[in-house]
Structures are given as structure tokens and as C-alpha cells.
């Protein structure tokens, strides 16, 4: 292997704000999202869902639906030809309900018809007789009370992960708190959608918006009773994901209807259905006790984190793993006794959302650090600096942080940034805005800080890899590269980055990104901030293999030793250009496929939680400045400043977009976003009642981005999408506490929590 540093910078390579290859299509409205797909003669699918969170199904009568003109199929669990259950981690979820329902919105039957309204009306004509049961909705009892009824026969605890370190649980200063995190929704804008097309070989082609094509294929094929090669997936345009597309939604249903009718079937959820059609962020109940010396150095942490996974397992096991292993935050703690539980209830199923497990814990431990600062008479930044881990420290699992962890300087940097000007006199900048609820009276400013630690890539021994196929050939007398992976572009800009990497590694400006599909090996999920690392690594590795073959070819054709690739040219040892890539290639085509794995991780010990469970850690710190109308309980976030270490900036504009967007979702969790559930029923399944931040809610965001490379990662990069989602939430809540003096133990903070009314 020739070790080559490409010295001559290629335009739009790694490090540049290269333009998105899908950008022009997206601004002109021509980009084909999953809900835009259309075929002649296609049918429209609709889903009948349970109105009850827990019930026995006594009978299902399809007669009325089947009689409705335009209806071509009405299917129940009896029509599922293969496995009846599926799941991203445990196969515990019925494709269509069998004799019982465990959450409100559980699919019972699916319909295909000639118009979406016909399909919906047919659903309304299906007669289901239920025996309604009292839903099991108390996650604490599900975790800790063995006498509580069971949602699934195997028991209510999906995973319990303890952390046990040391034995000293006494200290001079002790602070305690009980915290609660509400159920957040990913609220991507592109609804769950896909088009299933029956194929002549008896299989099906599915065009779908998802985060991981191959894990969808792995779940769909057994339920259809088909071998995987007969269930071919192609990524359709994805309108955001944020974890909500890790689990299946309409995939199996559309395939079933397509295979049953012999016609293409499209399913597009509406917004209300979307709130029932995907998993949410786990709500959490947390108890923390932090013991420290009088000068604010942590002696111990005791903790209990109960995560409500709802009716099915989804990714609850991994969420528990993150909450436990990162449960004390980026702090050195010599003694830890912490228990994280993920449980079944009859509440809506919860699974992946940006930063999962780590987000919930971060609100808890950061709130505790502020309490400790107050108890010790320290500044909140100072107490964090006194306890922060650094390179070489151990986290709660005993794993040594063997990469830069410059938390102290990050905290100092964010603290020392200039503060925004004082309270504005412009109505539009005040809490309540043009609602004209204050002209400045009752407004108090607060400043708060938050810092988080997130594991990047899949953890706990998972075989986490990606595959890339790179093809180099001459097209129209110019060298051209085709990069093919199955990695899901969900908006984050991976398509841009893959092309940047190919340009950098091969020096060829002309790079095309093939559509993502299952005709190439798995790329793993667009989750866990992992695609730049793992699929980026796969593209880099495949390009290196192509480069090696190109140089072999050049040596053979040019009868010249010691050739290298530089700036897109074949050069001699002395740096003289001897040929272009196109001249060397001629009619030859070089294609290489490579898998890339990050270094292996290990499971956590079941009793102590010890183990090198993670491959990389990423950090972001936020400072929030808020103005609070303490009389009305309204909050205006004035500014959010962030310092994040990304190892290496691969695309500045895309990176900033990730940090901005993650910060915004953290603001939403702090102040407004909650799926309100009562008795297992969702009370606000709409954008009228589930509020996400608008452009009026978001403040200016100041970013300071650091590049301390991780020696283990491609280009030294660090995953970047999730860390800002952790730290913005506790920073904002701390700022609101600073303004109001209220304890604010629950997020999202509601006006009545501030006013006490």
C-alpha cells in the first residue's frame, strides 16, 4: 500500500463547504421524497389503528370495508404470510395486531384502494369489538414492582443496567434531585411514506424513506415469507429522520398490500397518523444524589433512571446502555451506584431520537451540578471544571478516554464569550413578542450552562460497519468516480461528504453518488452521529484501494516505478506529472468494494456496567441567555452559544447546520416539546398542539468549533450531530432557573412551573 498524502488541494474536497449534490433539486421542488412517488395504476394504503392503549380484540369484521367500491384489499394479521412479529432489536411487535392491542395507534388492519380517502373510509367501516382493559402506564411500577401486571409475558423490564464503582457513599456536601423528562417527538417534516411495487419474480421493490435500508430488509423479508434478495429496497427522498425512522412504520404493510393486489401501493401518513406511526423519545424519571467535598469535588453519585419504552422494545436496550454508561456525565466520579431501567408499559412506544439515553441523563446530571455549585458557593462553570474528565480519565464504565477531551478549555471558552446586550426595548425581542404581553416589566435575565458527553457510533460490542463501492473510469474523456453505498441521506449532507472524500482521495473532481439501495452491502444506520465516521471511513478505504490499483495500472502501462497520485495527476518521485488519470485508465475500469469497521467495543458487565463499551466520545458545551417574564411564565431565549470539538471539520457549512439544528431540538425539549399522554392516550397529535421551535423561538446561535483530532477516526473526525442536542437543554433550563429562582425539575418547562400557579 502506497501511503500518499494528497498535497494539492482538490476543489470541493474534505474541509470545503462543498455544495450539496441534491441541493438544486431540493430548492426547485423536483427532489423526489417518498411521499412524492407515483406510478400509473398505483393504489393508496391506509391503516386502521387501535383507539385504546390496552384491549383484547374479540372480533374483527371486514365486510363493510370489502364492499366499498374502489377497495382492493383489506388485510389483517391472518394475511401475514411469514413471521408475525418484527422489531429493530427484539422481534416483539406484531405486523398487525393479534388478539390484543398494547398501545393507542397499534395497527390492526390495512386497506388498499383507488383513492386515499376511499382507503380511509374503508378503515372506518371495519368493525372491531374490543374488551377494553385498564392500561399499565406507570413506568416506575413497571421497573420496580414485581406485582405490577405485565405488558408482555416475559416481564416489564426490557433492560436493567447497573453501574457499580467504588464503595464510598458519604460526603460533606450532598445534593439530591428528582427530575422528569417529557416525551419528545422527532417531528420530522416528511411523513412516513413509501411505494411498494410487486415484481415479476414474486418479490417486491420498496422505495422508502428510512435510516437503514438493510435492517428494514432484515425485518420485512421474514414477515413476507420471502428470501432477502426478493425484497429490494431503494432509498426515496427522506424528509428528516432524527431517529424516528429507525423502526419500521409502513414498510411491511405496503409490501403486503402490493403482493396481495399485484399492484403498486403507496402509503403516506398524515401528520396525526405520524404521531402514532413512529416511536418517540423515552420519557424519563430520574433520581440523583451527588456527594462532594466542600470545594465541590465529586466523591460519589447515586442515581436511578427509569425510561418508559412503551408497548414494544424498539431500541430501548441501547437507550438504557447510553443512559447508564453516560449517566454521570463527562465527570470523574470515584464512586458510582446507578441503575438505569427501560420498561414496557401501554404508553406510546419509544425508541430512537437524537442523542438517545444521553439526552435524558444530561438534564439530570447537569441540573445536579448546578445544585452542587450553589451548595458549595461556586460558579457553575467552576464546579464543572473541577470535575470534568480529560484525556486519560475514566468514565463511569471504567473506559479510559483515549482521545482529546478538552472540556476545561471548552467551558472557559464559552464562559468568556461576550454576552449579548441587555434586555431589548423592541417588543419583538421580548417574551410574548408581538402578543404585546409586556413592554419590559417583569422581565428578568438569566444565564446558564450545560455540557454533555455522547458516544459516537454503535456501542456495546455491536459489529458496526459500512460498505462502499467506488468505481473509477473515463467518461467523455475525463476521469469520473461513482460512489455507491446503502447509507441513508436524511438531510445531514452525507451525499456531499461522500463526494468530498472521493475527490480528496482520488483527486478527481467529477464524482457521482449512486442512489442508496440494497444492491450494495449494508452501511449501517444513519444514527448515533456515525455516518461520517463509518460510511466516510468506508468510502475513504475503498478510494484508497482504487488508488492503489490505479498506480499499479500506471506502473504497468507507463513502465515507471515510484509513481504517486497528486492533485489528480500521476506524478513521479520527483513530483513531475507523467500522465493524467484518464490517460492511465484508457478503457480500463477500476472498481473496489470495501467494508469499514471502527475499533471493536465490548459489552458492559451486567452487574457492574464496566467495559470499554464505546468507540468515541463527543462533547458540546452551551451557554444560554434567556429573558423570562416571571409574571406570565414566558421565556425568550436571547442567545445560545456553543463550543463543540469535532476533531476535524469536513464541511463547515454542513457542520454548522448540524450544530444549529441539534441545538434547536434541545431548545424544544427545554421549553415546549412534549407529547402529552394521559391514561396511555396521546392528547396532542398535531402541530397545532405539539409545538416545535419556529424562527421566532430560535435565538442567534454563536458557534466556536474546535478541531482536536481523534487518532482512531478517519481524518480525526468526531461525530457531530447529537452532542448539541444534549447540552442546549440543561443550559436553557439553568438560565431560566437563574432568572426565576425556581427549581424546575421537569422538562419541558411550562409557564405554570415558572409562575407557580
Amino acid at each position: 500500500m502506497t501511503d500518499i498524502q494528497v498535497t494539492s488541494p482538490v476543489r470541493d474536497g474534505v474541509g470545503a463547504s462543498a455544495p450539496r449534490p441534491d441541493g438544486t433539486l431540493k430548492v426547485t421542488g423536483e427532489f423526489a421524497y417518498a411521499s412524492d412517488l407515483w406510478m400509473d395504476g398505483m393504489l393508496h394504503g391506509a391503516t386502521l389503528r387501535s383507539p385504546h392503549p390496552r384491549a383484547r380484540i374479540l372480533s374483527v369484521d371486514l365486510t363493510g370495508a370489502l364492499k366499498l367500491p374502489g377497495v382492493e384489499a383489506v388485510l389483517t394479521h391472518e394475511d401475514v404470510p411469514g413471521a408475525k412479529l418484527y422489531g429493530v432489536d427484539h422481534a416483539d411487535q406484531p405486523v398487525l395486531a393479534i388478539d390484543q392491542v398494547r398501545y393507542q395507534g397499534e395497527p390492526i388492519a390495512v386497506v388498499a384502494a383507488d383513492h386515499p380517502e376511499t382507503a380511509r373510509r374503508a378503515c372506518a367501516l371495519i368493525r372491531v369489538v374490543y374488551e377494553v382493559l385498564e392500561p399499565l402506564t406507570d413506568p416506575r411500577r413497571a421497573a420496580l414492582d414485581p406485582s405490577y401486571e405485565k405488558v408482555h409475558a416475559g416481564g416489564n423490564v426490557v433492560r436493567h443496567q447497573p453501574i457499580r464503582v467504588g464503595s464510598v457513599f458519604e460526603a460533606d456536601v450532598v445534593v439530591t434531585g428528582e427530575y422528569e423528562v417529557g416525551m419528545q417527538d422527532q417531528a420530522f417534516l416528511g411523513p412516513e411514506s413509501g411505494l411498494a411495487v410487486p415484481a415479476e419474480d414474486g418479490g417486491v421493490d420498496l422505495y422508502v424513506a428510512t435510516q437503514w435500508l438493510h435492517v428494514d430488509q432484515d425485518q420485512i423479508a421474514p414477515c413476507l415469507g420471502l428470501p432477502p434478495e426478493k425484497v429490494r429496497l431503494t432509498l426515496a427522498g427522506v424528509g428528516g429522520a432524527f431517529g424516528a425512522r429507525e423502526d419500521l412504520s409502513m414498510q411491511i404493510h405496503a409490501c403486503l398490500l402490493a403482493l396481495h393486489t399485484g399492484k403498486p401501493v403507496r402509503i403516506v401518513y398524515g401528520r396525526e397518523e405520524s404521531f402514532f406511526g413512529h416511536v418517540h423519545r423515552h420519557p424519563a424519571l430520574m433520581r440523583y444524589e451527588h456527594g462532594a467535598t466542600r470545594d465541590g469535588r465529586l466523591v460519589y453519585v447515586k442515581g436511578e433512571i427509569i425510561l418508559d419504552g412503551g408497548a414494544y422494545a424498539s431500541s430501548t436496550p441501547a437507550v438504557v446502555g447510553n443512559a447508564a454508561s453516560l449517566g454521570v456525565g463527562p465527570y470523574s466520579v470515584p464512586n458510582i451506584s446507578l441503575d438505569a431501567y427501560g420498561v414496557y408499559t401501554n404508553n406510546p412506544p419509544c425508541g430512537a431520537m437524537r442523542g438517545f439515553g444521553a439526552v435524558q441523563a444530561c438534564f439530570g446530571y447537569e441540573s445536579q451540578l448546578d445544585r452542587l455549585a450553589e451548595a458549595c458557593g461556586l460558579d457553575p462553570v467552576e464546579v464543572r471544571i473541577r470535575n470534568a474528565i480529560s484525556e486519560g480519565s475514566r468514565i463511569a464504565t471504567g473506559q479510559i478516554v483515549d482521545m482529546p477531551a478538552p472540556l476545561t478549555s471548552m467551558l472557559e471558552q464559552v464562559r468568556d464569550l461576550p454576552l449579548p446586550e441587555g434586555v431589548s426595548t423592541d417588543l419583538r425581542d421580548l417574551p410574548g413578542g408581538v402578543a404585546n404581553s409586556t413592554h419590559g416589566e417583569g422581565i428578568v435575565r438569566g444565564v446558564g450552562y450545560g455540557i454533555g458527553i455522547k458516544n459516537i457510533c454503535y456501542s456495546e460490542g455491536f459489529d458496526d460497519f459500512s460498505t462502499a463501492r467506488v468505481r473509477l473510469e473515463v467518461i467523455g474523456e475525463e476521469a469520473a468516480v461513482l460512489v455507491h453505498t446503502a447509507a441513508a441521506e436524511v438531510g445531514q449532507g452525507l451525499v456531499t461528504l461522500k463526494a468530498q472524500i472521493a475527490r480528496t482521495e482520488l483527486g478527481v473532481p467529477n464524482v457521482t453518488i449512486a442512489p442508496a439501495d440494497t444492491q450494495v452491502g449494508s452501511a449501517g444506520s444513519s444514527s448515533a452521529s456515525r455516518q461520517s465516521y463509518v460510511t466516510g471511513g468506508a468510502v475513504k478505504t475503498a478510494c484508497e484501494a482504487v488508488r492503489e490499483r490505479l498506480l499499479e495500472l500506471a506502473a504497468k502501462k507507463l513502465s515507471h516505478d515510484g509513481l504517486a497520485l497528486s492533485g489528480g495527476k500521476i506524478v513521479s518521485v520527483s513530483g513531475i506529472v507523467v500522465a493524467s488519470v484518464a490517460e492511465v485508465l484508457g478503457d480500463d475500469v477500476i472498481e473496489e468494494t470495501r467494508e469499514y469497521r471502527h475499533r471493536a467495543t465490548a459489552p458492559m458487565d451486567q452487574l457492574t456496567g464496566q467495559g470499554d463499551a464505546h468507540t468515541q466520545f463527543a462533547f458540546c458545551v452551551h451557554r444560554a441567555v434567556v429573558d423570562v417574564d416571571v409574571e406570565l411564565g414566558l421565556v425568550k431565549v436571547v442567545e445560545l452559544a456553543a463550543v463543540q470539538d469535532v476533531g476535524k471539520i469536513l464541511n463547515p457549512i454542513a457542520l454548522e447546520g448540524q450544530i444549529h439544528g441539534g441545538t434547536a431540538q434541545g431548545l424544544g425539549l427545554a421549553l415546549m416539546e412534549e407529547i402529552q399522554v394521559a391514561g396511555g392516550l396521546i392528547r396532542n397529535p398535531s402541530f397545532t398542539d405539539y409545538l416545535i421551535p419556529t424562527i421566532l423561538d430560535m435565538p442567534p446561535m454563536r458557534l466556536e468549533i474546535l478541531e482536536n483530532p481523534d487518532p482512531h477516526a478517519p481524518y480525526g473526525l468526531r461525530g457531530a450531530g447529537e452532542p448539541p442536542t444534549l447540552s442546549s437543554t440543561p443550559a436553557i433550563v439553568a438560565a431560566v432557573r437563574a432568572a426565576t429562582g425556581k427549581s424546575l425539575m421537569r422538562i419541558p418547562v411550562r409557564p405554570e412551573h415558572i409562575t407557580g400557579t
Partner: protein, 155 residues
């Protein structure tokens, strides 16, 4: 029912429209214009924003029959040649991630700059307050509108 209206400069007659269909549905499913997006279909997200007789509206809140005889301009019809400066600025500023909100935001921002060529930040925020974006946190969208305004006034 039959609906006849002008869309992006050409007259369209659409047959077999069910009375319950929205203008958004007709554009997307019957006119081959899926650029206007279906994120909420309840008037909360702005992703389906189109011009109706020159005013920006949520196409999901307009019944198909209400479009009879009227003029609709969608994101697909903003520019006859190349990209409109607003579209260009969204690309250059990095305001596009998943892009599902983008068509609606571009139409809404286009309307703002037609009315207010050099808007203050507060005016941009007010004008775009009905358009939800889940990816960007809006910072790059503000950049894009500022950039488009600067380029338009420089011309």
C-alpha cells in the same frame, strides 16, 4: 368535479376531483407538481406555501374548488430560467438540509423580498414564522434571506 385554473403560467383543467381534495392534493397528485410539500396538511407548517392570485397561502387549506378560475404559482414556477435569487441563496447559505420545508420557505421568502427588498432580521423572522423547519434551527435560513436580499438589491 372539474377544476380549471392557471398554474405556473399555463391553464390546467383537472377532472374527477373529489370535492374534499385540497389545492395541495390537486397540485401534487393530479398536476404532477409535487414541489409543494405535505408535512402537516393542517396549515401549521407552511411547507405547502404557494402563491394564490399573488398572495402566499397554505395550499393544504385551500379547497380544490376554491382555485377555480384563479392563478397559482408554486416553487416549480418561481423562475423561468435557472434559479431565482432566493433559491440560489438557500443553496449558497447552507439553508437546505432534508429540504422538506424548503419549497414553502422559498415561496414565503420570495414574497417577503417582493414586498420588503431589504428586511431587518425581525421582519424576516415575522414573515417566516409560519414555516416550520426541523433541521436547521433557522440560522442558515436567515443567512439565505439576507443573502438573497443583498443580491437582489445589488442588481
Amino acid at each position: 368535479m372539474r377544476v380549471t385554473f392557471t398554474v405556473n403560467g399555463s391553464q390546467q383543467t383537472v377532472d374527477d376531483v373529489w370535492e374534499g381534495e385540497s389545492l395541495l392534493y390537486v397540485l401534487r397528485e393530479r398536476c404532477g407538481l409535487p414541489g409543494s410539500k405535505n408535512a402537516c396538511e393542517q396549515g401549521e407548517c407552511g411547507s405547502c406555501t404557494v402563491y394564490l392570485d399573488g398572495s402566499p397561502v397554505c395550499a393544504c387549506l385551500v379547497a380544490a374548488g376554491q382555485a377555480e378560475g384563479r392563478t397559482v404559482r408554486t416553487v416549480e414556477g418561481l423562475s423561468d430560467t435557472g434559479l431565482d435569487p432566493v433559491q440560489e441563496a438557500f443553496l449558497d447559505a447552507g439553508a437546505v438540509q432534508c429540504g422538506f420545508c424548503t419549497p414553502g420557505l422559498i415561496v414565503q421568502a420570495h414574497d417577503l423580498l417582493e414586498r420588503v427588498p431589504d428586511p431587518e432580521d425581525a421582519e424576516i423572522r415575522e414573515a417566516l414564522a409560519g414555516n416550520l423547519c426541523r433541521c436547521t434551527g433557522y440560522e442558515k435560513i436567515l443567512d439565505a434571506v439576507r443573502l438573497a436580499a443583498a443580491r437582489r438589491t445589488a442588481k
